[in-house]
């Protein structure tokens, strides 16, 4: 049976006539305040439409055969760097959505930096649907007055399967974001015209976003300078927002492993990222695995955690220059921090920002089965380095049935004779055999 996480909220999130109150819950609450933000929203209509779309993302599932009814899970909210960000995944973890309320969309007080789960319930969503363009609204993340409830019994408890897939997916997405480049920027009309070419129904084939003349369209023919989109039907979730946007940018990950649409509104941005295909969640991609191999002293990680918490941004290059550190080490440290759920990534500013996932660190670190598999191989003495020099490493790793897999590492080029590698050619993260060799190297 799947492990459950009981979210214990002190009360229900709700929206009364003037304030959206978001009840928060965190396994690891860092600060002392129970309220992270309180203030006015300048463009509440756009935010409410984006949050409804986020809830639609969270409720959706694009697996061929959903094994479980898609439950409404609770998005994660980060308050910091003068912005508020709401993020979540579809049930299958193939779609990631994040609503950024920008500095110019807020008029309020950041009481404390932090990241937390917020209670998203059907009533709140219905209430968000009522928000219209002329409404004045405030937002409260957490309750300002501590002790609003007299006893511990009054919390609201929601039980949903532990979103381990989310946690794994969240770290992968940040890395993919940091490797993504802007390809197209479309006006509202161009975006609307583009979405008129969206194929109807569920589509198994890859589609490509291409530009011909002044027109953008989704086509099925791969050409130079097109953006690959697998499981294109997932984009339908975006359609209700398009009439409201100012513009839309499209980013593509360097290795074409994800594509991200950024919808720009007044004071709000909606980031919408698709995994390589509808049957592949971000959680299973293993993009971070080799970065997680380096072991850093806990003290150093804690120091960087505090450093980033204070600064609210994290620029590996600047940090390396500033502290006179080896850049590759700092990049790996970035991976480690992202893999631990300590960093998020902003596509526009091209910076990591502090976003400590509201889950226990040991929970997060226990989520990489391939990494655990690699450690087990080492423990059992199944890894044998055949030769090693500064250019290449050759090794044998025992697989099932005692058959030895051959691992060859030549700089960035890492290969193995196992089925996982043969099938995916490294596009879905490294196999446990390569990971084990890298760890021993």
């Amino acid at each position: 049976m799947e492990e459950q996480l009981n979210y214990c909220y002190q009360q229900k999130s709700d929206l009364n006539s003037e304030t959206i109150f978001l009840s928060q819950f965190s396994e690891i609450h860092k600060g002392t305040s129970s309220c992270l933000f309180w203030g006015k929203l300048k463009y509440p209509y756009y935010l409410s439409r984006c949050l409804i779309t986020l809830s639609n993302v969270v409720k959706s599932s694009f697996n061929l055969s959903p094994f479980q009814i898609a439950l409404l899970k609770d998005p994660i909210v980060t308050v910091g760097n003068q912005q508020i960000r709401f993020e979540g995944f579809s049930h299958c973890v193939g779609v990631y959505a994040r609503v950024d309320v920008l500095e110019d969309g807020l008029d309020g007080e950041v009481l404390e930096y932090g990241t937390t789960n917020v209670d998203f319930n059907q009533e709140l969503i219905t209430a968000l649907g009522k928000v219209n363009r002329n409404d004045q609204l405030s937002l409260s993340v957490g309750k300002k007055e501590v002790g609003f409830h007299q006893d511990g019994e009054s919390f609201i408890e929601r039980k949903v399967p532990l979103p381990t897939k989310w946690i794994k997916g969240l770290s992968t997405v940040q890395l993919y974001f940091s490797q993504s480049n802007p390809i197209f920027t479309l006006t509202k009309v161009q975006a609307l015209q583009l979405f008129k070419t969206l194929p109807v129904g569920k589509v198994k084939e890859d589609y490509y976003l291409s530009k011909k003349g002044n027109r953008y369209s989704f086509t099925i023919r791969k050409e130079k300078d097109t953006i690959t989109i697998g499981g294109i039907h997932r984009l339908k979730l975006l359609q209700p927002l398009l009439p409201l946007i100012k513009e839309m940018s499209v980013y593509e990950q360097e290795e074409k492993q994800s594509v991200t649409f950024v919808l720009v509104f007044e004071g709000v941005k909606f980031n919408f990222s698709l995994s390589r295909n509808y049957y592949r969640g971000f959680s299973g991609e293993g993009a971070l695995l080799d970065g997680l191999l380096d072991t850093f002293p806990e003290k150093l990680i804690k120091a960087f955690d505090s450093f980033t918490y204070t600064n609210q941004t994290f620029n590996p290059t600047l940090l390396a220059v500033d502290k006179d550190l080896d850049l590759s080490k700092v990049e790996n440290l970035t991976n480690v921090l992202a893999g631990m759920g300590l960093l998020g990534y902003d596509l526009e500013t091209r910076n990591f920002y502090y976003r400590r996932l509201p889950f226990k660190l040991n929970r997060i670190l226990s989520l990489n089965p391939r990494l655990k598999g690699a450690e087990k191989l080492i423990e059992e003495g199944k890894v044998k380095i055949l030769s090693q020099n500064e250019y290449e490493t050759k090794a044998e790793v025992e697989g099932s049935g005692g058959i030895q897999h051959y691992v060859l590492i030549q700089g960035e080029n890492k290969k193995c004779t196992c089925t996982w590698y043969s099938k995916n050619q490294g596009t879905r993260g490294l196999c446990k055999h390569i990971l084990a060799v890298l760890k021993l190297k």
């Binding site: 049976m1 439409r49 409804i52 809830s55 639609n56 409720k59 059907q122 009533e123 969503i125 219905t126 649907g129 009522k130 928000v131 219209n132 363009r133 002329n134 039980k159 006006t187 009309v189 609307l192 015209q193 008129k196 070419t197 194929p199 109807v200 129904g201 589509v203 198994k204 084939e205 589609y207 011909k212 003349g213 002044n214 027109r215 369209s217 989704f218 086509t219 099925i220 023919r221 130079k224 209700p240 398009l242 009439p243 409201l244 697989g399 049935g401 005692g402 058959i403 030895q404 897999h405 051959y406 060859l408 290969k415 004779t417 196992c418 089925t419 590698y421 043969s422 099938k423 050619q425």
Partner: protein, 905 residues
């Protein structure tokens, strides 16, 4: 002790509650394993009776469920019989007062198999904490007076029906005293009439459901509820803000209803114009025409009001020009002309955004508002028919490691050309094998064996990877095991353990080619021959560029290398290689290289192939060496020359089929069968790839979905026999909707066509397959076909008139709804560029020219499109045949006007 007691209680149907009451948590843990054993033994499959039988009676089953209820943790709990109701009075009175499991509320809330009455009873006693979702679900299926039995029902619970998605839209109920079985809509109206619930609140809650994310059926049901309340103008005004917000709904039914309400109040003083117009963006981009039309009517009423800012409103209305429907665009244009000022520059700027996608008639109406005459950004003319680029060049492998990692992925079928790389590189790998590195092949052999012997078909794998490649590699593994018995022990153990016995098949020494993979089979045998002979030459036919092309210089170098090493050239290998050279102008570039070849006839074939010498001047001793080249070059004089010389024709080798239509009448519909056949069939039997049996198998036998592309790419310059076969097999059964497997194959052939259509095609087969794709019911097929059409037009290698003629020929026989074609044109083919519009006009004119004298259903839209395209290409000359057809069609009143317009342009 406890376990025996439990077993005895169940067996003898004794009182269980006193026993359960005494259990401590420790006892429960102890009893759990016993209980699990009992539960496992409840049902058993009886071989004799051929069904599952139950070893316990109903009373015993209840006892087991009661015991489970008390003993189990949530993760272990499950009921043994659906008859046990954990929310029943029995549980309420006998068990829950002394034991309520911590998971009880969760269980009942999730299972939702309980009545509304029971929910209230249990929650009143504090046993159950029902969720709003449970209450709503139970209430939606309330059958009778329960609605009035509890004060909270109408006060609180009934509103949950508006918050939570239930099956209320499908339910009927006896709620009132009159015992009438009513729909819930009627129940609500009666409740409102009799003042049981507040009318205002029902209206508000109903409108809110439209943006609650309910599904289409339920949202439609709530729309009907709103309609049944017959809300007044005053109420609409009162609720206008909620109504405007509800326009955000994703369903068209409520929007239509709400717009009707808005239309009825638009002239009222209290109507909040400023607020409403902020939602215009949502309305004008709607996919539903009725929504856009009503929105335009409302906006016209607003714009007529003296206080409104017409310029601002028109800028909003302009958003309606995004619609691809000519009538809607015209309505928007007329509003702009009627109320707009041609000197209003911001408005003109706004309109210019849509310039490219406007219909000609709309441009005419808006002429004084349009800034530019033409804003098409010209699309780069490709006109480049090369297929050899740096990007698709396949790397050359030379070291053991490189070849090893290549071979490891062949069985996964990652690329269509990988199998051929394996055949080329395995003989080379063999020469690099030592006792130190041979064991690295073990995982490869293991995987091959797993795929080969697996009872399920591994995804992405074709018959080549499932059978023929494993046959070859298993045999090679045997050779290596003999050569290196110690080094390959692990693999040997694995193979022995698998106990595969007879399943392990090897290649047979045979010249068999009479099946669609026959050529591949021969290539496998050839690879094995090279391996056994320790030859280190490259296959002539191994692609140098993905997916199948060969650079001409490389081919000549390979031939020279064969001659230098004294290796005989394999005919099939040579034929495939010649067929994979892109047909483009290499004249003069290869002359000196060709001269290095010793084999006189091969040298002459290449001289001919690269246009160094004329075919008619050369000596042809072995036609099988020339045939592929002649067919690939596809020059009619040369084909005729060789046909005459050999006193035959090459119809089957070139895939030149005729087609025949046959009308069939079924009980409810008529359809047409399409058959491809050879007009003047002659029995050729050239050697190699043109072997009669092989060609025949290509046309008649099925090919696995993961192999068809590979077979097609064996002769990329001559794919027509396979394309004809594809079309023949899809539609021989009739032009009714193809089944799913056929759809998959059809898509494969379209993908193949996309890869090999880089030069002018004189055969009808590619045009037929493309036509089948354009008119296919599947979106993906249609989209891909449009892309192929765009691409071949960009390259200037497409005959649009001919394509239109084929569409006309099939459409005249009711091949597919014309609307499917016209919708696709409007959505994807129209207004791409001026040149593409001209190409499209040619297609449509060609189509009409091949239509019968009686116009078919839906043809009016085609004529409207021709009118649209002809207007912007007035220099285009219409053929006499086309005009004659239109003259005949003019007799149809519905078409007369549009035909006159076309003929007048």
């Amino acid at each position: 002790m406890l376990t025996t007691e439990l077993e005895s209680i169940i067996k003898n149907e004794e009182e269980i509650i006193p026993f359960l009451k005494t259990l401590s948590p420790k006892d429960k843990k102890e009893l759990w394993s016993q209980l699990r054993r009992i539960k496992k033994g409840v049902y058993e499959f009886s071989e004799e009776q051929g069904r599952r039988i139950c070893h316990y009676n109903d009373a015993q089953l209840l006892l087991i469920d009661v015991a489970s209820f008390v003993i189990c943790e949530k993760k272990n709990f499950s009921r043994i019989t659906y008859k046990t109701d954990f929310g029943s009075e029995f549980f309420e009175n006998e068990i829950l007062p002394w034991y309520v499991p911590s998971w009880y509320s969760d269980y009942i809330n999730n299972e939702k198999k309980i009545s509304y009455d029971r929910v209230l009873q249990l929650s009143k006693k504090g046993f159950l904490k029902p969720t709003t979702s449970l209450i709503a679900d139970c209430l939606a299926i309330v059958w009778d007076d329960d609605l009035f039995n509890y004060p909270e029902t109408l006060k609180e619970h009934i509103w949950y029906l508006f918050q939570e998605e239930t099956i209320i839209s499908q339910r009927y109920s006896y709620v009132f005293d009159d015992r009438k079985n009513r729909r819930w809509i009627d129940i609500f109206t009666k409740l409102v009439e009799e003042n049981h619930i507040e009318r205002e609140k029902v209206i508000t809650h109903t409108i809110l459901t439209f943006t609650s994310g309910f599904n289409k059926t339920n949202t439609g049901w709530f729309t009907d509820l709103l309609l049944s309340l017959e809300i007044t103008k005053e109420e609409i005004l009162l609720h206008q803000e909620e109504i405007f917000t509800a326009l955000n709904t994703q369903h068209s039914k409520p929007i239509n209803t709400l717009l009707k309400y808005i239309k009825s109040i638009v002239s009222e003083e209290e109507f909040q114009i400023d607020l409403f117009i902020q939602y215009a963006g949502i309305l004008f981009v709607s996919e539903t025409k009725a929504v856009v039309n009503t929105a335009l009517q409302i906006f016209e009423k607003i714009i007529q009001q003296p206080t409104t800012d017409k310029s601002d409103l028109l800028k909003i209305i302009t958003e309606g020009l995004i619609q691809t429907d000519e009538k809607i665009q015209l309505k928007v244009a007329k509003l702009i002309v009627k109320y707009g000022d041609p000197l209003d520059e911001p408005l003109k700027d706004q309109i210019s955004i849509y310039h490219e996608s406007l219909f000609f008639s709309v441009k005419e109406v808006l002429s004084s508002f349009l800034i530019h005459e033409e804003t098409y950004e010209e699309i780069e003319e490709k006109n480049c028919i090369s297929v050899l680029f740096d990007e698709n060049e396949i790397p050359v492998y030379s070291t053991f490691d490189e070849i090893l990692f290549l071979i490891a992925q062949v069985i996964e079928n990652n690329e269509v050309y990988h199998v051929e790389l394996l055949l080329n590189y395995l003989p080379k790998l063999d020469q690099l094998i030592t006792n130190e590195n041979v064991s690295k092949l073990e995982p490869v052999f293991k995987r091959v064996l797993e795929v080969h012997t697996s009872r399920t078909w591994t995804k992405n794998v074709g018959a080549l990877e499932k059978y023929y490649i494993p046959n070859y590699l298993n045999e090679y593994a045997d050779i290596l095991m003999e050569r290196y018995p110690n080094e390959l022990q692990k693999y040997k153990q694995f193979r022995n353990k698998k106990n595969i016995g007879d399943e392990l098949k090897y290649l047979k020494e045979t010249g068999r080619i009479n099946f669609p993979l026959g050529v591949y089979y021969q290539l496998i045998l050839y690879s094995r021959q090279l391996l056994k002979e320790n030859q280190k030459v490259d296959f002539l036919s191994t692609p140098t560029h993905a997916p199948c092309w060969i650079a001409p210089q490389v081919l000549i170098d390979r031939i020279i290398s064969f001659e230098e090493k004294g290796v005989a050239i394999n005919l099939i290998d040579f034929q495939i290689a010649i067929g994979r050279i892109p047909v483009q102008d290499f004249k003069g570039k290869l002359t000196s290289l060709i001269q290095k070849i010793n084999h006189q006839e091969i040298k002459e074939v290449l001289n001919y192939h690269f246009s160094e010498k004329a075919l008619q001047t050369l000596t042809i001793d072995h036609p099988e060496l020339w045939l592929q080249s002649v067919i690939s070059r596809n020059i009619q004089d040369e084909i005729t020359f060789l046909e005459n010389k050999l006193n035959t024709n090459f119809d089957i080798e070139r895939g030149v089929f005729k087609r025949k239509f046959k009308s069939e009448f079924a009980s409810s519909y008529n359809y047409t069968k399409v058959k491809f056949f050879l007009e003047n069939e002659v029995i050729n039997d050239f050697n190699g790839i043109f072997k009669r049996d092989y060609l025949s198998s290509l046309f008649h036998e099925n090919i696995h979905h993961n192999d068809d592309m590979k077979v097609l790419l064996l002769q990329p310059n001559n794919p027509n026999i396979l394309l004809s076969k594809a079309f023949h097999s899809f539609y021989f059964g009739g032009t009714i909707l193809p089944e799913v497997p056929e759809q998959t194959f059809e898509l494969d052939y379209l993908k193949g066509l996309e890869k090999v259509w880089y030069k002018e095609e004189t055969n009808d087969a590619p045009y037929c397959v493309l036509m089948g794709g354009i008119l296919n019911p599947g979106n993906v097929h249609r989209d891909l076909s449009v892309e192929i059409w765009l691409n071949v037009n960009d390259k200037g290698i497409f005959d649009n008139k001919r394509f239109g003629a084929i569409i006309g020929e099939f459409q005249a026989r009711g091949y597919a709804p014309v609307k499917r074609l016209t919708d696709l044109i409007v959505k994807r083919m129209l207004n791409i560029s001026k040149k593409h519009n001209e190409n499209l006009l040619e297609v449509l004119v060609g189509m009409v020219e091949n239509m019968p004298s009686t116009p078919i259903r839906g043809i009016k839209k085609v004529l409207e499109l021709i009118k649209e395209l002809k207007t912007s290409h007035s220099n285009y000359l219409l053929s006499d045949r086309f005009k004659e057809t239109l003259e005949v069609w003019k007799e149809n009143k519905g078409l007369k006007s549009v035909i006159n317009s076309i003929l007048e342009i």
